[in-house]
């Protein structure tokens, strides 16, 4: 995964984290009796989803690179 890909995926993961926090505060927090419990659960959920998103983006980028390298290798072998 290149730096720019990691930056892009990281930024999107951050946006996802913040979005989950906003949605949680607006819609889900009312279902909890304790505010501090809600905040802890919210952070756990938001971090888990953001990290999962980043890892998925990383896996995709690695697979894409492997595919491109295989393509180049095949082309080189064809020429030889």
């Amino acid at each position: 995964m290149s730096f720019s890909q990691a930056w892009d995926a990281g930024f999107r993961a951050l946006l996802l984290y913040v979005g989950i926090v906003f949605v949680w505060l607006g819609l889900i927090e009312g279902l909890f009796s304790s505010q501090s419990t809600s905040v802890v659960v919210m952070n756990v959920v938001a971090v888990a989803i953001a990290v999962a998103f980043f890892l998925r983006a990383r896996r995709r980028a690695v697979a894409e690179r492997a595919r491109a390298e295989a393509e180049v290798r095949a082309l080189v072998e064809e020429h030889i």
Partner: protein, 312 residues
């Protein structure tokens, strides 16, 4: 001579025994821009983020204690905030749709005109060249119920003379009309530039094949204009969401709060009521909404450009 021109700058610097590496040279080149972004964008953002987590009622002193997510909870439960979001969405939809439709229609009209294209283009730049604060004042006089030109002409035609900025049912549409007047030429000029840049060959071939005007528009003109129109749509949407100056000059958010946009509500909360904590929180929400919207809007555009580059 031509050989020396083809040598890249880093190679030239190496040849002349430069003391800094390419990496540091490139860092040096972007450093001024980064410094400006840091000072004028990132530091205020970090400060606003800090204030949004604190109690900051300036009428009771400066920036106060840490209050966690309380400001965010309050903003999300605030009806006035959601009303201002509704006004902004309503304004953006109405203004952008009207500007796009009228702008494209005007571009087609000018494109097919045989005389006076240059003069029309110059005249169309005028609303864009003047600040909204100035043209807004001008429009306030046009809208005036007693001395306004619009009501004067309506009176001559024996038509009803509404209170354009004071009637809560039409005040927002008066602001939309002003924005449409100011920004339709922008859409028209960009669409016109796109039309003039289209290659002639496909259109000549379509004409030889006897394709109807509607078919040419549907299968050639609009698909080829799509990237330009999409770009102008994104630019106009982002600008419309930031609506402030037109509201500030024409209605000050009134009558009541029917024309209070998100940015105007933010300004009123922060600089009239001095609730900086609340205003900063809304600013963070606003920034987040803009970032997400830009991400969704720009992704297909960037994909389109990269596809074109790889095809080229």
């Amino acid at each position: 001579m031509s050989q020396s021109l083809s040598v890249s700058l880093p190679q030239q610097r190496r040849a002349s025994g430069a003391v800094i590496s390419d990496r540091w040279f490139s860092i040096l080149l972007i450093a001024p821009a980064m410094a400006v972004i840091l000072v004028f964008a990132l530091l205020p953002l970090v400060y606003a983020l800090n204030v949004s987590f604190r109690f900051a009622d300036l009428t009771r002193g400066g920036i106060g204690d840490f209050v966690g997510l309380d400001n965010y909870r309050r903003v999300l439960a605030d009806r006035a905030f959601w009303a201002s979001v509704g006004v902004t969405v309503k304004f953006t939809l109405a203004a952008v749709i009207l500007e796009m439709v009228l702008g494209i229609a005007i571009a087609f009209l000018i494109h097919s005109a045989t005389k006076g294209k240059g003069i029309i283009r110059s005249l169309m730049v005028l609303p864009l060249a003047t600040s909204a604060a100035v043209t807004g004042l001008f429009w306030r006089y046009l809208y005036d119920t007693q001395f306004g030109l619009i009501n004067y002409f309506l009176g001559l035609l024996h038509l009803p003379q509404p209170n354009w900025l004071g009637d809560y049912t039409i005040a927002l549409w008066s602001v939309v009309l002003f924005d449409v007047w100011q920004w339709t030429p922008f859409v028209a000029l960009i669409a016109l530039a796109g039309l003039q840049a289209l290659p002639k060959e496909p259109f000549e071939a379509a004409e030889l094949d006897g394709a109807s005007t509607f078919r040419v528009l549907r299968t050639l003109t609009f698909p080829m204009l799509k990237p330009v129109l999409f770009l102008v749509l994104v630019l106009r949407t982002i600008d419309s969401v930031r609506l402030y100056d037109a509201v500030a000059v024409l209605t000050r958010g009134g009558p009541g709060t029917v024309t209070e946009s998100m940015t105007f509500y933010l300004y009123r909360t922060g600089l009239k009521l001095f609730r900086m904590d609340y205003a900063s929180t809304m600013a963070i929400f606003f920034l987040y909404a803009m970032l997400v919207a830009s991400l969704f809007a720009l992704t297909p555009l960037l994909k389109q450009f990269s596809n074109r580059a790889s095809e080229g």
